[in-house]
Symmetry: D3
Subunit: 332 residues, 6 copies
């Protein structure tokens, strides 16, 4: 049995869920990973109103869609971040409030606890999201970093997220950090440090997204093997390097989609990610959850791209074997 394929709804938040679910069902997806923004899955309504959750299920069922996970990226980002104007655009007004940083961070933390509760109400056991980071601006150590500050940041992360994960544990829900630049963990080294800081507790795992690794020259399949027991969810997203000696791998402070960038997100199967190697690694570690397409390609029509991506995953993902082959070659 191949794994179910879902569509993460985060990049489609301009569409009402009704509309998006009709499209996704028509394309043949197995389910949706609902974003906690737009009208896709509103945490406050889910906790306040029984009918709201029922309405979500009805929309999904009408389109023959399932749901295995929800995405709480935007609010999660604010939990550990240095808050600035950009957060106003991605947070619910009642979370952003007056924008005073520590207040924002605390309200975001509370909202993440509510997100776990809402997930349980919806009947899913997986919330994916971001953590934010107090030290992203220290990425390049000049002026020279005080590396004790880096260490303290991992402690701060653990202190802010520990109580959140306590609620996740109570609700029987797990959190999957999407390892990603601007988060507390974005590669092998920082993932190891983040897991160590939070005590490698079961409630805190990884939403593995290879598109954030390829431009860093990281091997996603190897990552899956190395953090096997914490791979709780998988995004299918791709990115492409276009390095010609004039384009920087760092992105040039250009928006995604600009010609002069050194790398960009592209529709799955159109970029650098070796998905077959990743899927083989997922087979090896026994991952049975959804492959959730996070579709983003600023150079492609999304209604062309989403079914193209689905077809790509269907033909690339396959079930593992139990047979040892040369053994089969032996005489019975």
């Amino acid at each position: 049995m191949a794994r179910p394929v879902t569509l993460f709804t985060g990049q489609w938040a301009d569409l009402p869920l009704e509309d998006l679910a009709a499209r996704a069902g028509g394309w043949g997806f197995d389910g949706l990973e609902l974003a906690c923004w737009g009208d896709h899955f509103e945490v406050d309504k889910a906790l306040a109103d029984d009918g709201y959750v029922r309405s979500r299920h009805e929309i999904l069922e009408r389109n023959h869609l399932n749901v295995w996970a929800i995405g709480g990226h935007l609010v999660g980002q604010a939990v550990c971040d240095r808050i600035d104007e950009r957060h106003r655009a991605i947070l619910p007004p009642e979370v952003y409030g007056d924008g005073e940083p520590e207040g924002v961070r605390q309200r975001a933390a509370e909202r993440m606890k509510d997100t776990a509760r809402a997930a349980a109400t919806l009947g899913v056991q997986q919330v994916n999201g971001f953590t934010g980071s107090p030290i992203w601006h220290l990425l390049y150590s000049f002026p020279p970093n005080d590396f004790a500050e880096i260490e303290r940041a991992y402690q701060e992360f653990a202190e802010r997220w520990g109580p959140i994960i306590d609620v996740f544990d109570q609700e029987g829900v797990k959190f999957g950090l999407e390892v990603h630049p601007t988060e507390i963990a974005y590669d092998f080294v920082t993932t190891r440090k983040a897991l160590d800081a939070i005590g490698s507790r079961e409630g805190f795992g990884i939403n593995l997204d290879p598109s954030h690794f390829a431009h860093q020259s990281l091997d996603t399949a190897q990552f899956a093997l190395e953090f096997a027991d914490r791979i709780y969810h998988v995004h299918v997203k791709d990115s492409l390097k276009r390095l010609d000696g004039r384009r920087s791998i760092l992105g040039s402070h250009l928006s995604f989609g600009e010609e002069a960038r050194g790398w960009d997100f592209v529709s799955p199967g159109h970029g650098d990610v070796d998905f077959e190697a990743l899927f083989r690694a997922l087979n090896r570690i026994g991952y049975q959850g959804p492959l959730s397409i996070e579709w983003e390609d600023s150079g492609m029509d999304r209604d062309w791209g989403a079914p193209d991506a689905l077809a790509f995953v269907r033909r690339t993902d396959f079930a593992p074997s139990q047979i040892a082959f040369d053994a089969a070659m032996q005489r019975a």
Copy 2:
């Protein structure tokens, strides 16, 4: 005639100039690029005390060394930066003061004007340095950048540095920005934008350092050709990528020299930089200034490395030709 080879003293600021000059002279360098920190070249003393400048010259002459440029990197960094605790460690106390950001920035700007004046007093026409950047923390656009803010940052840079460059012009001295991550310009795109913002005025050019380009996958020789009229000074520094699928090109918030980093600085000739291609490009654009070795290699003894680097440059740099060869093959 090959170009003179100097040693940038910034990484040797733990040594008194007396000591360092004796070593550099002994190794056979043609001169020093004096850092404006340690006791190498103190801007305030140079302006206050005629004897100070004379003493610098005496130390140099005693060791058969020249000086073509000075380095004002640390103070320059503060002019446009978001100021934090790290700046305390790199700024003179009277510039850092109480650490209130705008005050620090303004005092740093004044000190850069003084640096131009001090350079003139010393008799050099070139000050290299950093500019800082108000937007380095926005490198990766998540939460999504307001790109109007990026544009405003280039304007802010121009507004802060314009008056400084006015003083440089008055003093007959030029500024060379070392294009570098954490500065307003760190690659082709951002250099073009910075030069445009400041009006491509002659007083503001580039200190070209290939070690900051190699790990970004940028071609330094091509950069030299593209910004030919603004290449005012050249650093000889190298870096090495060590990407094996587990090490990130972004550096993992690890200090330079840590095993698990994806790239690091290494002694010139031991890394990824194609210096011959760079020197050929410098010949093509007619650059006649010094090749200034900025020596940094956390895995090598610096007293072994500095003369090794000097020998490397001596055997790699060569004078251009005027002869068209197949023409020489023709019968006279």
Copy 3:
């Protein structure tokens, strides 16, 4: 909306148009780019006989095919070439005449003017073709070239083609030079020089064919961006390098299809051309014209290959997007 896909009929001139159109229609092409040889589109008949043009349209319509461009490669080649025996085989007898070079060139130029007139009669605004070159034999400068002669050749090209393009302008038709070895322009440098020589006039543009770039190690997508306003038509043709240290990139004076060649033409999608990068570049510059498959693969049955190529283009070409993605991730 994806771009229409046509079949260039030049390599099928052994078949009557009736036969070829039936095949192409059956395979599902959107149209044909008619070659001005064989019986596909005969310039003299088109100008002499109203019924002829009508007959072409009838054949096309019967097979649900359109026409957006015609190909005048063979006659165009003679306009600037050093004429020899080889031209006899590719020119109409009345153009080749007695083979006296200057006479051939002038008759070819006149025929190109007629080609513009015939195109207008047919109702198309695009003629693709070759220009020939007076200096192809000087490709490798030994005996050493007099480079003034190279410069004069660009002038000669401009003088010969200027009057032809005047007629194109009058007829509201554009010429698209297929940048190609043996033509006045075959790479970035020579295309720039040719466009400059002819005054960058609007009537003279480019039929972009990536198969001629791949073996030169040229990046076709970059070419499309650099000459964006002159990309008037696009060929979909592919080539493959097979360099193993014994095969020369120069071709060894062997015919296409010979085993020992260093490169060869292959069916689109089977070679070195990065078509997705090219199509993305075409999206970026707003090219809306046909993708015209010029099918040539000496190792593949063409009736297998042509529909294979069509399927390849259909699944590789896609419409661009207007959505900025992280923006969509923001809260409405």
Copy 4:
């Protein structure tokens, strides 16, 4: 006409032929290459009982399958090998007998003669298989080899296989050695030596399997050209290198399918083999026989993989052309 595609049954010997033929027919294969083990094609029964051969044909016909070749790999292996316990598992008990090496080798040789006779009875002219090797254990020359012993081994091979091939010649059947590590020939050099040793007689040729070449860094298409007149049969099997500096190309004494191996077999089209180059080479040398999929991928469900492999071959194999293309571009 494209070549027929068959499935080699060796890796499916745990299934009765009835079952396997039903699957293969359902997937659309053109035929089976029957392994001489399991119940697929039993040499002794074929010679003893007329009805047995008929029963094989009936099973095949019922499933619209043909047979062009049979596989006698396991018994062939014993003809020249240093016999040990492993051979007990791959040989029929009456061939292995008491395991005394020379006795095993001689009984295996006799059984290979019977295999030729049984093939003739079945109506096929091709038997594929292994030869074994007396010197595989001397692969790495330490302790230093006596290279005269290597030469003697090729003579021993010729002496043991000569009489077997005599019977093949009498029966009008050819033998195809699958060039493969552990056999007398596994690369260009050793194939040349083996063919020379046996006198380049027509009865002894090659079953070309690219999966054994890719991990050795050998070019299978070049091999096909170089040994063109001895390519009697072709296996479609793939392998993939996964070298990251920690995995050895030599295999680490790990079983196929282990994560830490440096290379492994994978389903055709999922590995390093350039099948299009191989098929073009087969076209060039005029090979018209079957493409026989030897399916082995320890990470993939074989019922998913076999039809996937068939589809891969169908879309990759194509018929050659007779047309010289630029000729077609000339005026008729």
Copy 5:
């Protein structure tokens, strides 16, 4: 302080030690790693005759040479090997005896104990060598290996070498296995298994030789980091891959130096080994022992090559640094 550079005498055993020491001293080596064959260091004489050891020291001292290690490769090879005729050529007659395998293995084991005793007499604490392997012939698993047999082989190795290492421990001498094809350990996986099998005891470590890793595509620097506490000695030897699609990485059963091999040993610095990366790794793990040149290049005159190799090591090996560089950039 850079590390001492020695010459391993194994490949010069045709020369008397007197002669070789004079050459090596003249070239400027710091010492010799004496092979236990030829007349370089004879174990039986060293134990029988006090004057013998003194004579070795006198020869060395006369040529200003030191000794830090001896090489017992040839006898060690026989301890675990499947004995055949080749061992007769590399063993002392009294060890080979009648060639009965188990007897040979036991006498070889006793001689290795004596080698530890002789080393102690000579005053060195390091013996390098081979272990042999009972399973090298099972490298490629066909006929399919019984992998339980592989596991048993590691046990056998531990049982045979455990008592030998007991004597090493008593004598205060360490054994360094040269990880190498045909030994129980030849890559990362097998080294880990061998160390585990023998209980990771301190007396049994590694003589690291990168030439055996390069052709396997292994990263020697990574190996040094991974087995840091067992790197007891280092050989400087190089190898070069020459893969062109016709040459196999497996060696084609050709002797070293044959043109058609896919790889060969070459003089240090002339091959694929990245010695700077290795030396940096050795600095990182704190290795202070000799760099011992094992010179072997069948295409180069050894009297030209040995001093060339010495010069290469002298200019490539350097001492590490204690300075953190950006720290040095900070104001004191």
Copy 6:
């Protein structure tokens, strides 16, 4: 013994031999390969005047220089070429005459016979040079070549050069074609055809120059092995590809030394040629003649470059070995 290193004087013809010999002797060259232009070695004077040859020897001896070969490239070029204005610049006036092509070719052929005679007078047995080609302008087959014309060109070459080589044979001198674009042979395929056409006679061999192979992606070492018995002389010259997607490998009709070219000649050791592989191949085929540096680098001062090139060859060329190494490891 390493091979002698000479300097080919062709690119220094602007200097009188007196001057050049003094420089070359001072740099430490072993000899000169005299060009038959400038005043270096004038064929007509050598035949007319005994004193002239003596004067050349005196100049050489005074500077401790030898001569093993002379270079007759320019006149040789005219023997088979399509003559045009460019030949006027490279030929003696009495050979060019009125420029009527066939007359030029015949006078050039006679002069080549004289060159053999003059070489004999000088006491050298090797003349290097070019042949010209009647078909260089047909390099890219468009308009499509009549390939019978290509075949006829090899015959024409044989007919023109056969009588010249007759004289070479009489004089005991050999001709070495410098395989090179614009000559009858420029790669593997065309060299084989040229040698076959002229009957593989001993008087006609090859002056191997790797700089003409590297930009064609040809392996010079392999060429040396394949044409071993015809390698009569070797040039040491280098070239460098600079392909970035915008520069064509074909050269863009730009003069050597122009920035935008895709490749260029560079000083030996500064380019793409693998000289060590070449020198190893020369050792293998037993070539004992000079390594003649043809120095050409439009970006380097030639007085810096020539001794740099000499030092490069001295440290890269080495004598072969007779020792089989693992044999040396065996006990005597």
